[in-house]
Symmetry: none
Subunit: 194 residues, 4 copies
Amino acid sequence: MQIELTDRQREILHASMELITQNGIQGLTIKNIAQKMNFTEAAVYRHYSNKIQILNGILDFFRNNTRQIFATEIPNVSSIKQIEMLFKKHFMAFAQRPSLVAVIFSEEIFRNETELLDKVRLIMQENALFIQKIIENGQKNDEIRNDVNPEYLTTIIMGTLRLFVKQWQLADYGFQIEKKGNELINTIKLLIMN
Amino acid sequence: MQIELTDRQREILHASMELITQNGIQGLTIKNIAQKMNFTEAAVYRHYSNKIQILNGILDFFRNNTRQIFATEIPNVSSIKQIEMLFKKHFMAFAQRPSLVAVIFSEEIFRNETELLDKVRLIMQENALFIQKIIENGQKNDEIRNDVNPEYLTTIIMGTLRLFVKQWQLADYGFQIEKKGNELINTIKLLIMN
Amino acid sequence: MQIELTDRQREILHASMELITQNGIQGLTIKNIAQKMNFTEAAVYRHYSNKIQILNGILDFFRNNTRQIFATEIPNVSSIKQIEMLFKKHFMAFAQRPSLVAVIFSEEIFRNETELLDKVRLIMQENALFIQKIIENGQKNDEIRNDVNPEYLTTIIMGTLRLFVKQWQLADYGFQIEKKGNELINTIKLLIMN
Amino acid sequence: MQIELTDRQREILHASMELITQNGIQGLTIKNIAQKMNFTEAAVYRHYSNKIQILNGILDFFRNNTRQIFATEIPNVSSIKQIEMLFKKHFMAFAQRPSLVAVIFSEEIFRNETELLDKVRLIMQENALFIQKIIENGQKNDEIRNDVNPEYLTTIIMGTLRLFVKQWQLADYGFQIEKKGNELINTIKLLIMN
DNA sequence: AATGAATGAGCATTCATTCAT
DNA sequence: TATGAATGAATGCTCATTCAT
């Protein structure tokens, strides 16, 4: 699906994500990347033709990450459990790489970059679809209440996840997202369970 | 609470919001503002001492907006109804001034501007608190289910609202937010009602 | 010699000198003057047609000041005593209005303003001439040593005075110029006396 | 002591000094430098991170210059001779690079740049100290009169030097500083000799 | 594969000054 | 006399990108 990355490209992506974590997307400049990589700005262009491709790479990285989250579904697990795991894995991923928070929630920044914006849209849609499927399954199995539209429920679940992660970021990662997240998950579970 | 704005300041804020709606926050430059106002860049500085103050003004505008939303609570209305109205009024506000979407959800952009970031944090907290109060009341009256933590319920409600509005923005305002929003509201209501 | 100043003009000059004392000549902007005067920038132009005229006014003020210093010579006083008094009066003047230091030693700033530069040149020449006359008289009376050229002695005396005052300014006016100055005067006297 | 300069940095410093000679420190803008160097403004920033560093570089250049002047003292030379040489070398340095006059005597301009002002202060102190030592030695050897305080004598000598050079600048370098300077030196010598 | 040098476009901001009211 | 509103020109600086070596 995605062309393999060279080592240097991977390094650049990681450096970029670190930069984003430290100073936000505004801190992601070619100059800063070069500095972090200990080589010149021109050298960056050997590995990525432009800055957009780097952001693209980060989004791909994120997509692969979430895809893995979604992919690891164990067949015989209840839908509720799947949603629970979904949250948990997201929390884990963000805890490990806080920069993802900045990237994934900054659609505003990609506003004028159609290519990037489209990718963000796509990722969100992919995720939404996946969640929706879980919900629909859960409703079929009578695990999840049937009186609600799966699409809206998806919005509720994703929205909750996003805001919670955002709050964690705005609090300067000042609480343990995985711990506090568990309680949030329980609340969600209570609401949607049959 | 807020120092009165001059006419010109109001015009600048509106021009700025239009610019944001059109090209995102990145499109908000002094030059663009000046162009839209049909005068020179230097003239902008007669009315706002710097760009941050303009963004500050927009945030204040948003805050006043939401405060009005929260303020118009009619006493003898059920908590569920209050939450419903909350959503509806927000949808209305955004429908009228789509730029608010860009401003209020781009905490990432203010990342390096403590002053602005703090204001965003404050507004979010204010709103959260207000919602939480409604929920707590609703739980006391047995309108809202008691088996869930009001704080998390607040996150769920706010998160849902935010994502929904964001989706509307990402869809280029391509659906009627107020109409589709009603269905979302109903879903929320179902979930939290006792 | 000089057209009479209006009250407002005098106020502007004083405000300007205060500004210079506080932040150097770079701190002398129309905006700052207006602020200090508690009226608008445009109002400044009622009283002075442009900024150069204000600086001109300050130079005139300085010139009048020094002229008074030179004018108060008491006829039957020895040349040495006259030079002593010259220093003392200068110290007094600077102690009272430290901004004069900034103004009188910033020929560099007037570099591109011929009008101002010429005035600075003129003032310096006037002063030099006056000192030189004292010296020549002193040499005639055998009070001052005759083996030195009065012109160069003038440069020595003026140069000493200037540097000393500059040092006082660079030390943030941190020593008592009049007190320490006395010792400097004595040194000078020793050197030039017959 | 000082980090080595690149060729381009040296060129920029020289271009800057030329600019200052031509139009004063006010004429030293990044734009002007770029023009003189025949490249763009942005290119300047490849070589100096900002304008202050350029001024800093000029001050360093001056300091190195004067240090060389002071360093070349020949051991078995009389103090009087040393002072004479001090003046001569300064005159030579200024004659070669008139811009130094503007830089070194414009403390006023650095007023708001602590970094630069401190450097100016430092250079002046260094120079003063060196002169004072010569004087003290001269007094020990009975070459220089003992009835005067070395500190004040230093002020007198430096002040004379400064004003003389300033006069030369104000006269648009219209006389031969080295020639006329000799006579000034002789006057100084007469005054301080035992 | 990487560097050094440079560009062009843009940005926020400042300043002296003008003018209608 | 003084204000409010505006201008034009400049300034220091940043950023993504290019290119010869």
